[in-house]
């Protein structure tokens, strides 16, 4: 089966608008979680978010995306996708080839326009320009049309593990001969819909989240997008290669719609099966980019699953206290961060941690350091028990 190489990356988060900006902020232990400025909600100023401080109209102009009906979710995607394509030096001809696939992930889609959706769906006003922009598919359809992407195009929504699954699906398209190169990733913007949803579940922290800390009290929502270009070994011989995608797995915890089982079967199997696919023994993993949302449930279960799989748990950290939980984008954003770990042979600190969880005693990485990194495992677990892990390796 073909080896899958990463030849391009693009990203936008509350830490920065490029891989470089994100890396510098991660090294410095910066936190992009702040009071909301751009979303109209009664929670602005009360709950912090990983908000990107660029207005939607500004993004439209910067990206020359002034067609009607383009949403913030699509704009964030466009920003990161363009970077990834340019980084991998994909030509227009390559992009429009039937051998180039595009796999997107989103859980918000056009629902970031909560108020417009309310009016259109209840027929309360004359129709808006967003009628075909609300659904999940709208983002990928817009980008396909803009870039004339010629191969398979798809959108995946498995809640918080969506873009890890987009990466996995794209890699399998290459391995099974459906594509030679794939652009994979995800995007989500902060929506009144999701913030009220998470708030109704009482899992939003009123302060900056504290992944893996004993006194953690919930997650922060964030927004962002990230895309990676994956290419089959034979199509990228003369190209720069950042890393190899060597393992992936998707499992289900099959326990509860919105929380993980205490044994953490889903997370455990996702990590274990990923290493099995890569034929890598657990002690070879140098670093884990943990899901680490900062909720009571996730961090304890994820810790248990790590203790179950690893005799000695490798260095691990969550970047959720840097940028918040970016939902459908988080798997792809953390894939880019994993690639940065490998490219620069370094690891970044887990912010907000003070004391280990009593039952598991695990301590994440607390400061920036250089480190020899051959293999990074990245976790994404979601509602509906959808758990996925990815393994990135140095070549």
């Amino acid at each position: 089966m073909a080896r899958i190489f990463i030849t391009g990356i693009g990203i936008i988060t509350s830490l920065g608008e490029s891989p470089d900006e994100n890396r510098i902020a991660l090294k410095q232990g910066k936190c992009g979680i702040t009071d909301l400025e751009l979303v109209q909600t009664r929670y602005a100023g009360k709950i912090p978010f990983g908000e990107i401080k660029i207005e939607t109209e500004t993004l439209k102009n910067q990206l020359k995306a002034t067609e009607s009906g383009v949403t913030r979710t699509s704009l964030l995607a466009l920003h990161a996708l363009e970077q990834a394509i340019n980084d991998a030096k994909l030509s227009a001809r390559e992009i429009s080839s039937s051998e180039t696939a595009f796999i997107n992930a989103t859980t918000v889609g056009g629902m970031c326009l909560t108020d417009e959706l309310y009016k259109d769906s209840n027929k309360l006003s004359i129709k808006s320009s967003y009628l075909s922009s609300y659904d999940f598919g709208s983002v990928a359809i817009y980008l396909q049309q803009r870039y004339q992407i010629g191969g398979i195009v798809n959108t995946i929504n498995t809640a918080c593990s969506s873009s890890a699954n987009a990466i996995m699906y794209g890699a399998r398209l290459i391995k099974n001969g459906y594509a030679k190169r794939v652009i994979v990733g995800g995007t989500d913007s902060i929506a009144k819909f999701t913030l009220n949803g998470f708030n109704s579940l009482m899992i939003l922290s009123p302060e900056t989240c504290k992944p893996f800390d004993n006194n953690r009290n919930g997650l922060n929502l964030g927004e962002g997008a990230a895309y990676l270009v994956l290419e089959a070994e034979e199509t990228c011989k003369s190209k720069k290669i950042y890393a190899e995608l060597t393992g992936f797995a998707n499992t289900n915890d099959a326990f509860h719609p919105s929380s993980l089982s205490s044994e953490g079967d889903g997370p455990f199997l996702a990590m274990k099966n990923t290493l099995d696919v890569a034929k890598l023994s657990p002690h070879k993993v140098d670093f884990i980019n943990a899901h680490g949302t900062g909720t009571e449930n996730n961090d304890e279960v994820e810790s248990r699953a790590m203790l179950r799989l690893f005799k000695e748990v490798p260095s691990f950290a969550s970047t959720k206290s840097n940028i918040g939980h970016t939902l459908g984008a988080s798997g792809a954003i953390e894939a880019v961060y994993s690639v940065l770990n490998i490219m620069h042979q370094e690891i970044y600190p887990n912010l907000g941690f003070e004391n280990p969880i009593e039952s598991t005693k695990l301590v994440p990485v607390l400061s920036y350091s250089k480190k020899e990194i051959s293999h990074v495992l990245s976790n994404s677990f979601g509602f509906g028990g959808n758990c996925s892990s990815l393994l990135f390796s140095k070549i």
Binding site: Y118, K123, F136, I152, T155, I156, T158, F193, D253, G385
Partner: protein
Amino acid sequence: MLYIHSTSCISAQHTFDDVNLVVLNPVEENKLLAVEPNSNQIPNAVLRRMGKAVRMGIKAALSIVNNQSELKGIIIGTANGGMEDCIKFLNQIIVYDEGTLTPTNFVQSTANNIASQIGLFTANKNYNITHVHRGLAFENAVIDAMMLIKEHPLDNYLLGGVDEISTYNYNISLLDGLYKNEEVKNNNLYEIETAGSVAGEGAAMFLVNGKKQNSLATLRAIQTIHATDEKIIASNLKDFLASHLADGEKLDLFLSGENGDCRLNKYTKITEKIADTTTLRYKHLTGEFPTASALSLWFACNFIENKKVPNNMVKTGSIPTEINTMLIYNNYNGIQHSFMLVNR
């Protein structure tokens, strides 16, 4: 190559228990609402919390996964998941001005809820995924299943497509011009030369693996296209048939996704011409929705298994005595197209 071993379908017609495609339930107010079967497998208290998409999905799924050997994956295509719950929650946000809200609708509304509920009910910890790419959500689920079978030929997978009509997506799609403004019936949907179709909903599930023995039907190949130019669709279809049909092999049936929208006739006309065989239509039975193609695959399996096609579905040509090879073509709103080649 994907072998289909068992199927189920919930639609506006009699497709679930006693299948009858001759006596049709009528279009009402331009909607074909799915007839939900009773279920004794799911407690009523649980069913009450679920939206219709989840109920249809889980009922259709449980009817074919029970007593089967372990599923190695649950692969669902749905454009919208639980749209009704989604907008109920949205309305709560607005009406209560973001006050204290109950999370039930929010949790039920997530698109992956259908696949995850099936996982919960069957205590299945394996591969579990939800494809949501609008008019190609089911087709991407098919591609996913085909890859899984190539990777693990002996394993069983559940493949399905589900979508519901909610008051809200009906309103949005109506405003967007997807449905007709004038009232239509099952028997004149294709005759009224206006824009739009009728709304539909349903769920179709398939138990699939890589084993030919005892299979009902074979899904030989699939292709998806994003384009609006009918010439691109035509040339892709010619290439698709050339590369997948054996020399001299002819199509016995063409199952067209024609939906009565006059703006889309150019696509069905040109594909019909290329298929050059008896043409069938099904959207006067199911209505139009993004994963209607899942139901088209169920129809194809039904025709192959029963060697019968109801007259009301024939557009042109005569029903062949043997049904071996079928082509299915679908398009959603003229921008997302798919071909599926199905065999006995």
